[in-house]
Structures are given as C-alpha cells and as structure tokens.
Symmetry: none
Subunit: 253 residues, 2 copies
C-alpha cells in the first residue's frame, strides 16, 4: 500500500483520492502527457472500489487536470494555471485589497468591451441591451430589485464584442461582484438615489454604443465603473504598492 496523504477534511473517499492525485500532478510527480495508473490499480492501491476512483477521476476531468480515452487510459492534461485561472490563486482572499484588485481587472476589461461593442454591435445586440435597460428602468420606477437586469446589461455588452473569450471572462469577473450590486438595488439604495444614478450611467453607455462612438462608450463605462466602485466602498487609498488608481489622479486635477 503506497503512501496515501490522509487529508482530514474530505469525509468523501472520492475527494480524498482526487485530492491525492491532484497533488501528484501539482508536485510534478506526474508530468503532463503521462498516463496515470489504471482504475483497477488505483482502486487496489487506495483500497477503494473502482466506482470511487472513477468519481475521483471525474472530478479531475472537470477541473481539466486529466483527460481519458476509452480503451487507452487517463492522461495528465496539463499543470494548473495553464488551463484555468483561479482568483483564489491570484489574490489573497483575506487581504483587504483583494476586492479592489479584482475590480480593477474588471474595470480594464469592461471599459475595453464597451469600446469594442460600439464598433461591432449588431442590431440584435442592441435589442438585448435595450431589453435589459428597460427592465432596469422599470425596477427604478417601481423601486424593485434590478440586479439581474443590471448583470444582463453588462453581459449583453460583452456579447456584442463578438469575442466569446471576452464574454466569458467578463461574466466570470462580473459574477464576483454580483452581491455588490444589492446595496444599489435594495430599498435603501432606491431611497438614497443609488439605483437612479446607476441607471443614468447605464443609459449613457447604451447611447454611446448605439451611436457607435467607441471613445464615448469607453468614457461612459469608465464613469460607471468608478461610481460602482465608490458605491461598494472600494477604498483606493489602500491600494498596494502603487499609489492610486488612474481615475483618482484625474479627480485630483
């Protein structure tokens, strides 16, 4: 019986197995392209049934660590970081600046997406944006929740770039701040005029994109991002080693 890293956490056998194999790959014990032991061998060495091993490999396949070919075997696909980008690896979740750093990343891609959308959007893209915009308008007047429409609007812009990779990434980064939109759209946000303010910013973005004005679209998106950051209380004063965000320098002048 080989060494089995006894992880205290997983009460699930399949998780124990998958974590162990994942560690093998991470530590370079199994290089990319290498065929990993057969399911029968693994089940024997781990002392579990083949079903458990299969579930473990299923996890690893989902995470992109391995790929298997029927009749041939399972092979190490690649090292982590080559196929997937994890925010948990990118920033220290406990760090106070993590949110600001991720938001800056979002700021970069969303402003670029707005500019691209202005020059590439189809009529159908505009329909999607307008539809989300109308739902937000309705949410403002009725003082109801507009977080979903808000999210849909941003996704529609990303989709209008015609770049699926960019679309997916914006959805991914934007999702990290889904909960952050609540203080804008709840009763308090309506009362304080935050929902109305956000809506006005959205309207300007839409107009610029509809007009095909990339520069104006980027500027409108920039303003929206800056205001959104302010609304969720991102403290740019504490930004790491770098002095400050670009929009702050502008505010200074």
């Amino acid at each position: 019986m080989p060494v089995i890293a006894r992880v205290a956490r997983p009460s699930q056998l399949s998780e124990t197995v998958s974590k162990t194999i994942e560690k093998w790959i991470l530590d370079g014990v199994m290089a990319p392209g290498v065929k990993l032991p057969t399911e029968k061998t693994l089940s024997a060495e781990f002392g579990v049934s083949r079903a458990v091993v299969r579930e473990a490999i299923s996890r690893l396949k989902a995470e992109g660590y391995v790929a298997s070919r029927q009749g041939a075997g399972a092979f190490v696909e690649a090292r982590p970081g080559q196929t997937s980008f994890r925010l948990a690896d990118a920033v220290d979740p406990a760090g106070p600046v993590a949110t600001a750093h991720i938001f800056e990343l979002r700021y970069i891609v969303e402003t670029a997406a707005a500019a691209l959308a202005a020059s590439r959007r189809s009529d159908q893209d505009l329909v999607q944006m307008r539809e989300a915009l109308l739902r937000m308008r309705h949410a403002v007047s009725e003082r109801t929740d507009g977080t979903q429409a808000d999210d849909d609007f941003h996704v529609a812009i990303a989709a209008a770039t015609g770049n699926p990779a960019l679309l997916r990434f914006i959805r991914f980064v934007g999702h990290q701040f889904f909960a952050s939109r609540v203080p804008t759209w709840n009763a308090e946000g309506h009362a304080a005029g935050r929902a109305e303010a956000a809506q006005a910013e959205h309207e300007r973005m839409f107009e610029a994109i509809a007009a095909g004005d990339g520069v104006a679209a980027r500027e409108a998106a920039r303003i929206h991002m800056v205001e959104a950051a302010r609304r969720i209380g991102i403290d740019t004063d504490h930004w790491e080693p770098a002095p400050r965000a670009p929009w702050e320098e502008e505010a200074l002048s």
Copy 2:
C-alpha cells in the same frame, strides 16, 4: 457572429448529464439552495445508470455548482461555480478564431498593464524589466533563444502594476501563446529579422514605462501586440485602432 453553443463533443454520458444540470443552474431553472432531484430520479429521467449520475454530480461538485449531504440530498450552491475561468469553456477549441479571440483578450490586458506600469512602477520593477531586456538583447546579437526572456519581460511589466490579480491573469493568458514566440526566436526568426523587430518594440515599451509616460507605454504595447499578432498570423484589421483610456488623453493636454 452569433453565440457559439457548439457542444456536440460530449460522447461521455456523464458529461452530457453534468452539462445539462449545469445549464439548469446557470439559466436559473434551479435557484441556489434548491435541492436537486434524487440520483434515482435523475437516472430514470436521463435514462442512464445511477453511476453515471453520480459521476456527473461529482463533476459539478468539483466545479462548485452543487454540494451534497449524505442522507439529505444534493443542493445548488449559493455561489454557482464561477471560482475559476477556463478557456476551454470560453471558446470552441476547434474554432479557427479561438486563438484570435484569446489574443484580443491578451491585447486588452497587456496594453492596460503597460499604461498602469508607467505610473506605478518602482525602481525595482525597472531593474527586473531591464534585466529581461538585456537578456533579449543578448539573444538577438548571439542569435539564441530569447523566449524565456521575452516572457519574463511581459511578466515584469504586469508585476509593476502592483495588482496581483492582473499579474496572474497576464501570466495565464500569456502562457497560452508561449509556443507562439518560437517562430520569432528560432534560427529562421533571427534570419528574417523578426527577433530584432520584436526587440525594438520591447525597447520602446521599456523607455515609455521608465519615463512614466502612460500614453506612450500603451501605444508601444499596442504596436507590439499588433505586430506579435501579425507574426503568428492573426488578423487584427477589426481591432480597435488605438484604445486609450480618457485619463491618458487628459494627460496629453
């Protein structure tokens, strides 16, 4: 260009099932916290064995979409997945435009990073860049391989932004094109003057960043990215001419 929903791949039953359930969750058919059907029910409805359903759920657990408790059931997680970004999900690997889409994403973040680096770089950051630059110079004159130094140079710029999330993402995206640098730095590339050309572009980027000129840094990076795309045969005609943030335009005046 419409959405590419080409997912005909899954010949694996478990993948078909997991993708279907994933779609349910993403489309909001199953809200967070909701208990999904029992394994027996799912196996009956999909017409597959329980083992297949379990492997599918195993995938979903690995991706963070669901969590299951023995005896109780499997429940949709509050934060549906979205803990990692996988390019394999973002683009159709078989599509001819996949590389161009990913490169555009890289173009967006690298040009922004260059602009940020110009305003935030420390003296130590400059040392890192200069070191990589010297190694590339040496590679050009000696006609040796400079891919690693090339990569290090771009990473040094990303690091100078002081944003670890941005750094990590640039490393991730840049790695997708690591192999693409070979035709620039191999014997053929040296002979055709591609290595020398790339080096000149790098020098301009460094000078602008060292001078603290964000606008020039972005423009130099833009040129380098466009040329790099051209060297690996990516069409950049439809790209935005010179995406530039408003604060930089202000800096011009």
